[in-house]
């Protein structure tokens, strides 16, 4: 942990960001029909292959890559090659988009209506659009939006249409195919569909990756997909999936294109359409199968106010510059490029690092609304709530802190803070209640007036309250990336046995490692994160550092308390999971049973009053904790017949629990792992 030069040169506060423009404004002032029928002539990639679109499927089906795999499969299975080729053709049919301008225009029209009804504004950074337009002409482009809502990709296409940019083709999950009509409409607007899991299916993989690569090589349209793989139900960014990123980088590695531009896009919703839906899902109310009627039942949704949306098109990232000095493209010199090969370790590592930094780029440009800060504060004061004035005062304090930490905060500075607070509260009135000047989460449920902070009596009540809490956490979570590193440090100082820098670093490293399934923490960047955290805490005067020691200052206590409280639910959650595994789990516990079992365990603890965080009921947290324990080797999966059971190393789990709780020095936990 050599002392690197201070971070002044990358002070988050100095980050320059573009201004926004509301694209709904024009929609409100001119004809939607004319807009939908407008002349649409986007500029295209300079190297676009003529007739690329019409030849797409043929190109894929005739590709050397596919032929190779078909031949191979035919030899392995004895099935005739043309039969397999037929199969490939069917896969492609099922997958391929059928973008047509008329459907796009239809969407342009209907979405205009819907957006105007739902949202106050859709803000887009026009400089980002200009950069994108430039990028589209120069190189094949991959759009990487964050994924919080079904809305995301329609919204993306809508924006690109509005700005006369080439419409993207979008990798969509097969779930949509359940909704026949909608599925087809989406297909015609540019979506292509991939099965959720096709693990070992070589043929499927080949057709799929060739399809995507062909579109990139031909440069006919930007390819769009979600790095996070699926919608984040928690508003935390999800650990990136590498499959598609690997595919879109491959043409660069193989020299088939000069470069590929990756454009991270951050879409922030002031209110998420699926808010309570997600909370229910996380609580184990089974996810309603995505069906057409389901989406349209959202009619009621249309009468609500969902505030504004901010879409920030980030700086295009050149794969070429990213890979400079990290990937040796000569790797492909000694074999024909169409023969499928595992990416080298070097490449895999590179793709993984890139994925993380892209997700972080998405996070950085997420616009945070004041409500996000309010939600964070209210969650930390669940039992008592806060007086309106108090809340305002704290929010103003937190506004300052979050800006220091580089948050992209959209706080209307021209309004009085009290106004800002009350207008935020009113937009989220489903989640808060104000009584007697005191603001609290609306935990009362529908059951009429209750005592504030009353503990639930029945499981059903508990679940209703948890829905509100989880909805709220999904807003707090939007700000997590801003506070994460300092919060890890604050917690590390808290659990470390001494103020020795060495010691604190060990704790930091332990916590970071423990929580790396929970948050976006790039593997191998512990030291960097530690230094960033030290810098941020130091710069706000919360921390004093000497050569050897780190000490929280008096004035910094407030910050440190806030930060620790922010992480606390997670640390508690992981401890509870550990406790469950040590105390209750039987030998026969299967992977499938894990979530229901742990949920029951937590419900019991909460009802008994020995656990106060409802958000521990989130299956997301439970799954992440399990994944972390598996990763650390505290649990092993054992396949028994058709079931996978979880074998718990009780000693290790126990010591992890104690370390998380600050009862055991970090060293020990590390030792226990060995």
């Amino acid at each position: 942990m050599a002392a690197k030069p201070p971070y002044s040169h990358r002070d988050p506060m100095l980050k320059k960001r573009d201004d926004f423009e509301d694209i709904l404004e024009e929609r409100r002032n001119s004809s939607d029909l004319r807009y939908a029928l407008k002349c649409y002539t986007p500029v295209v990639y300079k190297g676009v292959t003529p007739n690329a679109a019409s030849l797409l499927k043929t190109t894929v089906l005739q590709s050397d890559q596919l032929h190779y795999v078909v031949d191979q499969l035919s030899k392995e299975t004895g099935v005739a090659a043309d039969v397999i080729q037929e199969e490939a053709s069917a896969i492609l049919e099922e997958m391929a988009h059928r973008q047509q301008l008329s459907t796009v225009r239809f969407f342009a029209f209907t979405l205009s209506k819907a957006f105007k009804a739902l949202f106050r504004s859709i803000h887009v950074n026009e400089e980002g659009i200009q950069r994108l337009q430039q990028a589209i002409q120069e190189h094949p482009v991959v759009l990487l939006p964050s994924h919080r809502s079904y809305m995301d990709f329609l919204l993306m296409s809508y924006i690109l249409y509005t700005y006369d940019l080439v419409l993207p083709v979008i990798a969509a999950g097969m779930d949509f195919m359940g909704m026949k009509f909608v599925g087809e409409m989406l297909r015609m607007s540019g979506a292509f569909f991939i099965r959720r899991s096709f693990g070992g299916d070589k043929l499927y993989w080949t057709v799929f990756s060739e399809y995507v690569k062909t579109m990139l090589r031909n440069g006919m349209a930007p390819v769009e997909f979600f790095l996070e793989g699926t919608r984040s139900r928690t508003s935390k960014s999800l650990t990136p999936k590498l499959g598609l990123l690997n595919i879109v980088m491959d043409p660069f590695f193989k020299g088939e294109v000069f470069d590929v531009s990756l454009v991270p896009v951050s879409i922030s919703y002031e209110r998420i359409l699926e808010e309570t839906l997600y909370a229910r899902e996380l609580l184990g109310v089974p996810k309603p199968k995505e069906s057409t009627s389901g989406l349209f039942k959202a009619r009621k949704v249309l009468s609500e106010d969902y505030g504004s949306i901010h879409v920030y098109f980030g700086q295009p990232v050149s794969v070429r510059s990213l890979a400079q000095g990290k990937v040796n493209r000569c790797h492909f010199n000694l074999m024909p490029r169409h023969i499928p090969r595992r990416p080298s370790d070097e490449t895999q590592c590179f793709v993984n690092d890139s994925a993380y930094s892209l997700v972080r780029a998405q996070e950085e440009n997420m616009v945070l609304k004041p409500w996000v800060l309010l939600a964070s504060l209210l969650l930390q004061n669940q039992s008592q709530g806060l007086l309106l004035d108090e809340l305002t005062e704290q929010a103003v304090w937190l506004r300052g802190l979050s800006r220091e930490y580089g948050a992209f905060l959209n706080w209307p500075d021209h309004m009085a803070p009290s106004e800002v607070v009350s207008s935020s509260l009113s937009l989220h009135r489903d989640l808060v209640k104000i009584s007697g000047g005191r603001v609290q989460l609306a935990l009362g449920g529908q059951a009429g007036p209750r005592q504030p902070c009353s503990s639930p009596i029945t499981e059903e009540e508990l679940m209703n309250q948890a829905v509100v809490v989880l909805s709220c956490t999904s807003y707090r979570n939007q700000a997590l990336h801003v506070f994460l590193r300092p919060a890890l440090l604050a917690s590390a100082i808290h659990i470390a046995t001494s103020a020795k820098k060495e010691e604190v670093y060990n704790s930091f490293s332990f916590l970071r490692n423990m929580l790396s399934n929970e948050f976006i923490l790039c593997p191998g960047a512990t030291l960097q994160d530690f230094e960033e955290a030290c810098y941020l805490l130091g710069k706000t005067g919360a921390l004093q550092m000497s050569q050897q020691e780190m000490q929280v200052t008096d004035s910094g206590q407030k910050t440190v308390n806030f930060l620790t409280a922010m992480l606390d639910p997670f640390l508690q959650g992981y401890q509870v999971v550990c406790r469950y595994l040590c105390e209750e789990a039987t030998e026969a516990l299967t992977e499938k049973q894990f979530i229901p079992a742990i949920r029951t365990f937590i419900v019991r603890l909460i009802l008994a009053g020995s656990l106060r965080y409802y958000e521990l009921l989130s299956s997301d947290l439970q799954k992440n904790a399990l994944a972390a324990l598996l990763r650390l080797g505290a649990i092993r999966k054992i396949k028994v017949a058709d079931n996978v059971t979880l074998k718990v190393n009780r000693l290790m789990v126990n010591s992890l629990e104690d370390t998380l709780g600050g009862k055991l020095p970090t060293q020990k936990a590390v030792a226990a792992r060995l």
Partner: protein, 624 residues
Amino acid sequence: CAECCAAANTQGILPDTNDCSDKLRMYKVVVPDSTFTCIFATSSDIISCPEIMKWNGWGYSDSRFLFNKKGQAEFTGKRYRLSGMILPSLKDWFEGTFGASLQHKSPATVSAIYIYFFNAVQPPTLNEAFVEDLKSVGIPFSHDAEDRVFRAHGHCLHEIFALREGKVGRVPDLVVWPNCHNDVVKIVELACKHSVCLIPYGGGTSVSSALECPPEETRSIVSLDTSQMNRILWIDEKNLTAHVEAGIIGQDLERLLNENGYCTGHEPDSMEFSSLGGWVATRASGMKKNIYGNIEDLVVHIKMVTPRGVIEKSCLGPRMSTGPDIHHFIMGSEGTLGVVTEVTMKIRPMPEYQKYGSVVFPNFEQGVACLREVARQRCAPASIRLMDNEQFQFGHALKPQVSSIFTSFLDGLKKFYITKFKGFDPHHLCVATLLFEGNREKVLQHEKQVYDIAAKFGGLAAGEDNGQRGYMLTFVIAYLRDLGMDYYVIGESFETSVPWDRVLDICRNVKERIIRECKERGVQFPPLSTCRVTQTYDAGACVYFYFAFNYRGLSDPVHVYERVEHAAREEILANGGSLSHHHGVGKLRKEWMRETLSNVGMGMLKSVKDYVDPNNIFGNRNLL
């Protein structure tokens, strides 16, 4: 030496003489009007010939491009078909392509006088004992600044640019002119004895910094100029071979053989000036390799003098299985192991018929696809080259004013036809030039076969003239760089070989990389970044890149140039291209040798060097 003369005599090649000491006169008899002929003094003070050759540019002094008073480009002299002609569109192309202007001149700042009379050249570090011994064996030598500077460089951009600015680095301390193999043996012995560094010098056309003297060399550096070893010693018509001294220059070799009804068919673009020994030492490749082969296919026997002694095989068998072929240590050794003195090489009867041709393709992709198919069917003509669109346009800019062979009226029509009727986009189309050789009937048959293939890829025959002009231009193109340098434009070409499936990718990526790098390094105007596929093989092709830019506003243009070329080479390697197809490694591309050959490969080469030349007498430090 007497024996060789005698041997040559019996072939009727040499005039009747049995006194090799009268070599100089004899030389003149053999090649009375050789354009390369140096002017000899009668004594051993041989001075090479700046009057005939440029000292700070390419080729003959009388031949150069210039913009005349009317602002029209003109090619001076009488040697080439283009000589004396006006090129009306060159100016517009030049100014348009580079953003250059005739108003902004950057002439060579220094005349030869300066170099020689104002001590720009370091005085020679002579090894007196060596010089004494040289005198005693009667081998001519010189330490005139002019002679030394002339042999201190090849034709890399940085070498010529420096000369134009009057900058001279380390140059050889002495130049020696051996007359024959035995002279070389003597020189090498003396060099070993007195610890002198030897650098063989052939035609001086190296483009890999191979001739540059290592600045860190402390010994006396002696340039061993092979130009006097330029005789054909015998011709064997039964086996179709000729035994030739390695210093002979390409055009002289061809002409002499032609007089006897034969040719080698080895025609590198530099054949006017490069030598047989140089070809062997660099693994050269000729334009017509499809019929005659590259240098490695052409040689039957090589004699090389090394510090360990003479290396050669014992017979002239056409192929041997006797362990690794020792010729392959010699070919490509770039002057690091010894001096190639004599070579037995294959000859062929002169072709009875030659025909040029050209094909226009709608785009480069189609053109490459066609070349690939031609290679697949193994029916490549003597030469087939595909130029990209930029080069096609460049070719147009070099069209001379009306002249019989250039039938510009017809050309105009053809252009009209191509661009209008067939829907070819003038900004995408590209052209392949062809050269067929052989028996007339077969040539015509062959021609049809190739044009039929081309047609399948949308190629239209575009006439003999276009083809012929294409090939003629390869000889004058080197002169154009000097013109560019008069107007702030610098450039160079470099090459690679690459498997077929990567040809298009490498062309696109390298050209783009060049453009990018120029921009990033502050070049104010977009560079000319173009390529052509110049050779086809069963398994791949040779690709040639041209790159030039306007350097106004740059403080260190050569540095920028070198960084861009470096980046371009990295790009080539990353795209599966080789380090070099025929230019060699020299010192310019040394840094990539290890990754090219693997550690063991490098070790093998090193151990050969260590055995053959333990004291690094051949100390030019190329390759390794």
